[in-house]
Amino acid sequence: MTKAGSGSLNSNLSTNLSTNLNSTAGPLWVNAEITYKCPLHCVFCYNPLNYTSTYDSELTTEEWLKAFREARALGAVQLGISGGEPLVRKDAEVLVAEASKMGYYVNLLTSGVGLTEERIAAFKAGGLGQIQLSFQDSTKEMNDFLSSTKTFDLKLKVARLIKQYDYPMVLNVVLHRLNIDHIEQILEMAEAMEADHVELANSQYYAWALKNREYLMPSREQIQKAEAVTERFRKRLGKKMKLYFVMPDYYSDRPKACMNGWGSVFLNIAPDGLALPCHEARMLPGLEFPNVRDHDVRWIWNESRAFNLYRGDSWMQEPCRSCDERGKDFGGCRCQAYMLTGDATNADPVCSKSHHHGLITTQVDLAQKPRDGAEEVRSLLFYRDDKTSRALETSEP
């Protein structure tokens, strides 16, 4: 038999199974941002700056389920329930259970705030597949936070619940200039929580993180030190705690294969029902994104202008158009190209072949300069909160 997953060997077995695997091109992964409400105020949040504008127009339970059913009919199998903090919504349990019944593998992405035993029991009974716990950012009081018994106890309590209900403990930590030097303490905490998987991902500079970019981007030296500490833990803990370290893309010379290509596998649905090819696309100008309230997901995915605009490679300009890597990274991220160069059809400037790559190297050079510490920077940061969101909406239409 051939390697698992690569297909059938024995024709007797496969005769009645059609092999048109590539004829389907529906979304495989749906991310449902069920609310942008959140008790936290993370300075690296990737929710849109004007997230409060969705407060009065959140989809109802029934509207969510309708969209889930439609995406499922197209072949979507993975569902992320995220936010904001998804536990803010009282119907999170219903959404998880119904989606699981539809055949989705359901992932809950939460800060753990509000995760009581009652709720986790309901999630388990409803068929929830996985819980990803994000490490709360507390840039405001980093040292207090890392040493605070109260927060630590809360984390341990949630971690114990997750284990008790037979889920692996998957911890997501967003690293940035102001917390990356504490990586040893962070990993010690992860170890105490008996985390099985820890993703240490540097913040990506979108939305709130872009606003705060100059304060969040670590220096090369900081990254190298953090990687060395991570490697030390990796060696000591082996399979017991798997560690993934994700560099900021600004430090690469090739862009990330963002979303595996526009409209390729990923469908994001915002709290107000806006269907987006990625978390950030809402800010792209001149694009009217369809709403799952008004349209069937099939139409949105197959027919809408927004989902077709950057599919394939016919939209590309040079250097992407003739680049032999365009099938690998799809020209990088459309949103990053727009945010930094003003044109979403440009190459992602992270690419060293981009005419705009200097925009990246300037920022990287800036990040090597000694800067004020967390203490001094605190008052300069944009914290993700409702008041700031509304103020930014007024000042930046």
């Binding site: 698992a4 297909g7 060997l9 024995n10 077995l13 092999t19 593998y105 992932n107």
Partner: protein, 90 residues
């Protein structure tokens, strides 16, 4: 690592196996991932229910698909599935 052929096999926790009409194949789902198991791979995985052993699975498949000599193919596949952490001894 050699998998015993007479012990019941079960899917590892976190994995979910199902038929996908939209893609016309069996799939194995796990956190944020999907493995397509078309044809015989799907037929084998379908029989992992926490009770059947590798030998039981071979017998069941040979009944469903008479005339095929599947012993080695099935064992090889189950070894791979075990190495990849999809299944374990119940």
């Amino acid at each position: 690592m050699t998998l015993p052929t007479d012990k019941a096999l079960v899917l590892e926790r976190q994995f979910r196996f199902q038929w996908e009409p939209a893609q016309n194949t069996h799939v194995l789902l796990y956190p944020e991932g999907l493995i397509k198991l078309p044809g015989s791979a799907g037929e084998i995985m379908k029989r992992i229910d926490g009770k059947a052993s590798a030998e039981d699975i071979v017998r069941s498949l040979e009944q469903a698909f008479p005339g095929a000599d599947l012993q080695q193919d099935v064992i090889d596949f189950l070894e791979v599935a075990h190495d990849k952490g999809w299944i374990r001894v119940a």
